[in-house]
């Protein structure tokens, strides 16, 4: 695998890629009303950032970036667990995962 | 360490009181305030013998930002500490035959207040001072909010936010000063030896001035005061008017004049003008007030207006007079509000017009009320006279015409006080079936103590002058 790296892709490519992925995630969050899919889009955004961190780590030869990715995963996992639990609870009460139904908290 | 003890006794007392119940708490509160008073007396002897050294306490609290826990004592601090700790037992005792709900919390808050007030007066680091300044607001907020009269929610909120807004300005000023000193410190000694550049002193002055002017209060920052004095329970009003507003005047001398002297000099005329205008303004309003407590509130504005005018005259006479008058006013105003409380408690009538004929049924009360009024209208040989004489002379040294204008207070003061006394105490009773028992023992003790203090400091004002003069000389030189 090493030779792949030695030929080397410019790091910019990774930056562009993760930017595009992040933007797609944002677009998804804005686009959809289903809470579950919004949660998934958030995961997508997190992963784009992870990719960015790994690329920086690899190109700068600094392990700490990857350690952060590790922690982000941990947080993401925890977040998904709680988020899904919330979603289940909402669905149980309102029979929907449409975020626009949750408009009680206003004014 | 003595400084810490001065703080520790009321704090510990405040906590201790939370565990007491009913009648025990008021007795305990009285005993504990008396202990503090005794300790203050001891502190006075120590100060006289050894000066400020035994009171100095300096420890570093935080290296970045650089904050020292610095307590110390000079004559002015000691005077204010004495005033606080002298009035507290009287205030506690004055509530003895009043129905107070949850007395343990009430008295605990009062002692907490004492703790904070003592802290304000002995703090020599700006940061610590600021903490105590704000800390003093908390107990009085709860006291007025929980034990107050009509409209207390609104009135207390106004009072709280108004004074807090002022404090915010002071905080800005302190932050600026902190960055301005070479060592990044808010220690008093550092602040007065490294003064801000004259270009910045103008707005530093205004930040400090408005903060203190709200607390004092100087017209036109006074509108929170009459309502609050009227609404707060009388013990709270006594704390507010007797001691807490002295925080403002004390701070003018401690934190404003030595720290930004050039700013003060530049804007002195406005500060003094506002103070003097406030005297006449509040006096005239007081003349036609029909609510007794509100009348006293306006009279208090007039009196402290003279105090601040004397301070802003920036001469030894004015400042010395202001200290004497701060002490005197603290004693007198507590007495006046206590008399108002006695009247209200027995007649349930806050209105001056509806009262009268009290002298007929309660001659002792009428006599002591008169004595306190005499102190308050500055009759010679009472404590009010010496202060007013020196204050007016201080203002005179600044400007002759201003002192004539400020001097109207001795006429107008007599007008509203005697008018009030006549309507309330003299004449034939207006209220039917008025039951007005003469003084109870605790009321007697409070009023007689106040009466004795009025005459003592009227005849021997030098006890105060000797205490504070060395410090004032360092400021005014």
């Amino acid at each position: 695998m090493n030779e792949l790296v030695e030929h080397g892709n410019p790091q910019n490519w990774y930056l562009v890629l993760s930017t595009i992925l992040f933007s797609i995630g944002v677009m998804g969050v804005l686009f959809r009303r289903n809470g579950l899919i919004i949660l998934m889009c958030v995961e997508l955004m997190l992963n784009s950032v992870n990719l960015l961190l790994v690329s920086f780590s690899a190109y700068s030869g600094n392990t700490e970036g990857q350690v952060f990715v590790f922690f982000i995963m941990v947080v993401a996992a925890a977040e998904v667990a709680v988020g899904l639990a919330l979603l289940v609870s909402i669905y149980r009460n309102l029979a929907s995962t449409d975020i626009n139904i949750l408009s009680k908290l206003k004014w | 360490m003595l400084s810490l003890t001065l703080l520790f006794i009321p704090l510990a007392a405040s906590l201790l009181l939370l565990f007491s119940r009913g009648g025990l708490s008021r007795n305990l509160a009285l005993v504990l305030t008396l202990v503090q008073l005794g300790f203050t007396a001891y502190a006075y002897t120590v100060f006289n013998a050894e000066g400020a050294v035994p009171f100095d306490f300096l420890r570093n609290w935080s290296a970045k930002p650089f904050i020292n826990v610095h307590f110390s004592m000079d004559g002015m601090s000691l005077l204010m500490v004495i005033l606080t700790n002298l009035l507290l037992p009287l205030i506690v005792l004055s509530g003895y035959n009043r129905e107070i709900e949850r007395p343990h919390i009430f008295y605990s808050l009062m002692l907490f207040m004492q703790f904070a007030l003592n802290g304000v007066f002995i703090a020599f680091d700006g940061f610590i001072y600021y903490i105590f300044w704000e800390l003093a607001l908390i107990p009085i907020y709860f006291i007025s909010f929980n034990w107050g009269g009509q409209n207390r929610t609104q009135v207390t909120l106004k009072f709280f936010i108004y004074t807090l807004a002022g404090s915010l300005l002071m905080l800005f000023a302190f932050l600026f000063l902190y960055n301005g000193t070479p060592t990044h410190s808010l220690d008093w000694a550092v602040l007065i030896s490294n003064k801000a550049c004259a270009c910045n002193q103008t707005w530093l002055f205004w930040l400090f001035f408005i903060a203190f002017a709200i607390k004092i209060p100087i017209v036109p920052f006074h509108t929170w005061q009459p309502d609050t004095y009227k609404t707060a329970p009388t013990q709270g009003t006594m704390l507010l008017s007797g001691i807490m507003l002295k925080m403002g005047t004390y701070s003018l001398i401690r934190w404003l004049i030595p720290v930004v002297p050039e700013g003060v000099k530049e804007w002195q005329y406005i500060a003094i003008g506002l103070s003097v205008a406030g005297i006449v303004y509040a006096s005239i309003i007081a003349i036609m007030q029909s609510d007794l407590k509100r009348l006293l509130a306006y009279s208090s504005i007039a009196h402290v207006g003279l105090i601040s005018a004397g301070i802003f005259a920036m001469n030894l006479t004015g400042m010395q007079g202001s200290l004497i008058q701060m002490f005197a006013h603290g004693i007198n105003v507590v007495g006046l509000f206590f008399c108002a409380d006695i009247i209200f408690n027995r007649t349930q009538n806050p209105n001056v017009e509806g009262l009268g004929g009290i002298r007929l049924v309660a001659p002792k009360f009428a006599t002591w009320f008169m004595v306190i009024i005499l102190g308050s209208v500055a009759l010679p040989l009472t404590n009010g006279f010496v202060g007013e004489f020196m204050l007016l002379f201080g203002v005179y040294e600044y400007n002759t015409w201003l002192s004539v204008f400020a001097g109207l207070t001795i006429i107008l003061g007599a007008v509203y006080m005697l008018r009030m006394y006549q309507k309330v105490v003299l004449g034939e009773p207006i209220m039917e079936n008025m039951v007005f028992p003469d003084l109870y023992w605790n009321e007697k003790v409070v009023l007689i103590s106040i009466g004795i203090l009025i005459f003592f400091f009227g005849i021997f004002p030098n006890t105060i002058i000797e205490l504070t003069e060395p410090f004032l000389k360092t400021i005014t030189k």
């Binding site: - | 036609m288 010395q320 040989l381 004489f389 006429i411 006549q422």
Partner: protein
């Protein structure tokens, strides 16, 4: 060396003089209930002790010497030291003797007069307190100590005028007295500031020593003296601050005699006499003092002619006589002014006490229209009152003759207009005093049968002071006989050291020769005789009684030229209206509105912005993303 020892020995008795009345005040105030009527005797004894001590000082203080000592440092700051100390010199000794002597007689009189009053002990405690402050006033060795007494007597005056506190109009009178005095006090206070600032102190010695350095007529001294004179106007009831004194008659009659005739109201004259040096250095002020005195003297005399209340007549007479004294001071005849203070103290106290005796006999009635013919029933009062009336009228050889003649003679030398005006005022004085006397004592009784039945002579405690005062009203004048009758003027001679400094500064008027003096005496006496004759013809021959509703000019006079109403309209009412306006419009609306507006703006912003919180999550997310974008864009651009 002898003198030195002698003087220090006098310090203790001198300090004790004011202490006895103070002790009397405390004891009668604290143990009044237990002492009952004994408190009156106790209080009188205290004054008698003070009188004895004053007499002791008078006899032992060597001539041309004064005793000046400080008891303790009262207020001391910076380089100013205001000590609490006393000055005993001829001037203060004269006042001391008058205050304690007449004070004692009036105490004695009050024992009888106030016998049935429930506030008996309280009355005596106030009286003692008054004497205490009055003694501080005359004994103080600085303006500040004088000011203590000055304000203190004002307080006692307030307490005693409103002694019967159930009556609200009495309370109003008391309040009025105190406040009007305070107006004067402010002048006094500012005057003291000038002295403290420019003359380096407040004690008489320092002030005089430094004042000499200023040229005569310098604006500083004029300012100081004018301010002091404002104080004197308040205390001694001169135009425009005189209206409180007639109202002050609401107090018990002994109070009117002691405070509002004999002692307190003469404090202004004492003060100017005490400050004679600086007044002499300010000729302009002297003019002002003279004219205020002359105008007050005439004005009050005019009002006095039409009054029907026996005490009101005497009150206006007092104002008029005080005006006369001020005129004397203004001319520069300080000793004559002081001499009149002393003689006036005797005969005016006598007149008031006599009036009190009449009121006592009439059971409280004060209106002269319901009196008449009382001479038959109360002989002692009648006789002593007659002596008093003759004395105030300046009939030879009663006391008033000598002092008044001296003032008239001095004014003749100084300013002929003043002399004419003062002579007219004296004529009017004679007229209204005899009007008073005839209406009260001559012809037949006009009151009710019940009153007639009640008429009786007063007890000995009341008549004894009348007799003593009558003796003095006859005899006191001989202390200061005019040059034409005697070669030595004892009174002037005694006071000479006090006025030594100012004598050289007053323009020495051409001293009237014996012929002129005799002529003046002749004019004065014949004028008095004419006045008596007029009064006789109106009130005895024609038996006129003042009508209830006078018409025309006399209506104005009877209503005191509506001065009270005028003050009420131009000062009191406007202040009340301003007070209401300031409270309701300025304080509540303008000042507080700004504060409340600040709060309202915050509240309004909150209320408005909260509408953005629609609860639509999609919208929130949009807002967040756009916000982030904007921030990043800004970061990018800048």
């Amino acid at each position: 060396m002898d003198n030195f020892i002698n003087l220090t020995q006098l310090i203790t008795p001198a300090s004790l003089i004011p202490l006895f009345p103070l002790l009397g005040f405390f004891i009668t105030a604290l143990f009044g209930k237990q002492l009952k009527h004994f408190s009156g005797w106790f209080a009188s004894a205290m004054i008698l002790l003070s009188f004895g001590l004053a007499l002791h000082l008078f006899l032992n203080l060597p001539a041309n010497q004064s005793l000046n000592f400080n008891l303790f440092n009262w207020i001391k700051w910076g380089n100013i030291n205001l000590a609490f100390g006393f000055l005993i010199d001829p001037l203060s000794l004269v006042m001391l003797l008058v205050v304690t002597g007449i004070g004692f007689l009036i105490h004695l009189y009050s024992i009888g007069y106030m016998h049935h009053d429930e506030g008996f002990s309280r009355f005596f405690s106030y009286l003692n307190l008054f004497i205490f402050f009055m003694l501080l006033l005359v004994m103080g060795n600085s303006y500040l100590i004088m000011f203590i007494g000055w304000e203190g007597v004002g307080l006692c005056s307030y307490l005693l005028i409103g002694f019967w506190f159930k009556n609200d109009s009495y309370n109003d009178a008391a309040k009025k007295a105190f406040i009007m005095n305070r107006v004067g006090d402010l002048g006094f206070l500012i005057g003291m500031f000038f002295m403290l600032f420019y003359l380096g102190g407040l004690d008489f010695e320092t002030v005089n020593a430094n004042a000499i350095n200023y040229p005569a007529g310098s604006s500083l001294l004029v300012a100081i003296t004018l301010l002091l004179f404002v104080g004197a106007m308040g205390k001694s009831a001169q135009i425009p601050l005189y209206t409180w004194l007639p109202d002050a008659m609401a107090g018990p009659t002994p109070v009117s005699a002691l405070i509002h005739a004999a002692t307190m109201v003469t404090a202004g004259i004492y003060m100017i006499a005490r400050s004679n040096l600086i007044f002499a250095l300010a000729p302009f002020t002297m003019e002002v003092v003279m004219w205020v005195g002359v105008i007050t003297s005439i004005f009050a005399a005019i009002i006095g002619i039409k009054q029907t209340d026996i005490k009101k007549v005497l009150a206006y007479s007092t104002v008029s006589q005080l005006g006369l004294m001020f005129a004397a001071l203004g001319i520069g005849a300080f000793e004559s002014g002081m001499f009149h203070v002393v003689t006036h103290a005797f005969f005016k106290a006598l007149l008031f006490l006599g009036a009190g005796s009449v009121i006592h006999a009439m059971g409280g009635e004060q209106d002269m229209r319901y009196m008449g013919g009382l001479g038959k029933y109360i002989r002692i009062t009648w006789l002593t009152f007659l002596i008093g009336t003759l004395a105030i009228s300046g009939i030879f050889p009663f006391a008033g003759f000598f002092s008044k003649d001296e003032i008239l003679a001095a004014s003749f030398g100084a300013n002929k207009t003043v002399w004419i005006l003062l002579s007219i005022s004296s004529m009017m004085t004679v007229f209204y005093m005899f009007r008073l006397f005839f209406l009260t004592f001559s012809k037949s009784f006009r009151g009710t049968e019940e009153q007639k039945h009640h008429l009786h002579e007063s007890p000995w405690t009341m008549t004894l002071p009348l007799i003593v005062l009558a003796i003095f009203s006859v005899g006191a004048g001989f202390l200061g006989m005019p040059a034409v009758m005697s070669s030595t003027h004892y009174f002037s001679q005694y006071l000479a050291p006090v006025f030594e400094g100012s004598k050289s500064l007053i323009t020495e008027h051409h001293h009237a020769d014996h012929g002129t003096e005799l002529m003046l005496i002749g004019i004065a006496l014949s004028a008095a005789a004419i006045s008596i004759g007029l009064a006789w013809s109106f009130y005895v021959s024609k038996n006129q009684i003042p009508e209830d509703e006078p018409q025309g000019l006399s209506k104005w006079v009877a209503n005191k030229f509506y001065i009270d109403e005028l003050y009420n309209t131009i000062i009191v009412k406007p202040i009340m209206v301003i007070s209401d306006i300031l409270f309701v419009l300025v304080d509540k609306l303008v000042v507080d509105l700004i504060v409340m507006a600040a709060a309202w703006i915050v509240g309004f912003t909150g209320r408005t912005l909260r509408l953005v919180q629609t609860g639509n999550t999609g919208f929130y997310i949009f807002a967040m993303v756009i916000g982030m974008m904007v921030l990043m864009f800004i970061q990018l651009v800048y």
